[in-house]
Symmetry: C2
Subunit: 130 residues, 2 copies
DNA sequence: CTTGAGATTCCAGTAACTGGAAGCCTTATA
DNA sequence: TATAAGGCTTCCAGTTACTGGAATCTCAAG
């Protein structure tokens, strides 16, 4: 398989696949013409990566998960640990965003948003006390 | 004021303040010794930036908000538009994270997490049906 | 006079790609 | 057979918003 077909089938753009090779996540062989020659296992790996990335795992986590996946003797506890840590990072991020959202939506609601210059959003950012 | 004091009072680290000058967000004067000489207005601007950044506004948004802030003839509608767009970006991000969270927490719950290699998390990432 | 704190500049690295240029390789068509 | 289109290659640069570190300079205290 050439890179185009793999891209199509894995849903990962060619550029990204080349990047993943650069950083050692996949190691496709090469055909005589210098083109990358992907096997089914490479495709499988890339699809794995695509799903892990879609769940927000970092590249480093992905590397880790992939090696656990390929290790017959892994302990599921190791996988679970990675996932749990990521989950709690997601929770933190959600909490942070929700707090921003809270403040921001108050501000937006309080701004009349017309042609007058008076604006509580700017006042707040400027630090004006109430 | 030297950069250290401004950093202290604005809560923005010196490195970041220098960076903000690099990209033209603040333009402190210079004293004879080459040190940056900040006025109260610079400090005020930096505090403004700190608050905007804390609400998740991008540097570009900040630049925009700052210029609106300094424009006596702004229309509050412009400010509100920036804020609303950011708010909806935040909402999108929260939704995306919550969807990740959903999937991931199911997976985590379904993994027994012991010394056995069997792991639903990996199975899911590998694309195993059911 | 020396020492230490705080200031300066410049370079590089972070995360994970993405865009673009220049140039092969292959295939189809005129 | 010439050529044009499309896919592939590599390499360089840019993105976001800083942050760390090195080498050097300035200033105040003892």
């Amino acid at each position: 398989m050439n890179i185009g077909e793999v891209a199509e089938r894995s849903g990962i753009p060619p550029k990204t696949i080349r990047y993943y090779e650069d950083i050692g996540l996949v190691r496709p062989q090469r055909s005589g013409n210098g083109y990358r020659a992907f096997r089914e296992t490479d495709l499988h790996k890339l699809a794995f990566l695509g799903r892990a990335r879609a769940l927000g795992f970092s590249i480093d986590d992905c590397r880790n998960l992939l090696s656990l996946y390929e290790d017959e003797n892994r302990e599921s506890a190791q996988v679970k640990a990675v996932a749990q840590e990521h989950l709690s990072a997601i929770d933190d991020k959600i909490a942070q965003l929700q707090s921003m959202r809270e403040t921001l939506s108050h501000l937006v609601r309080s701004c009349h948003g017309d042609d007058r210059p008076d604006c509580p959003i700017l006042s707040d950012l400027a630090g004006d006390k109430s």
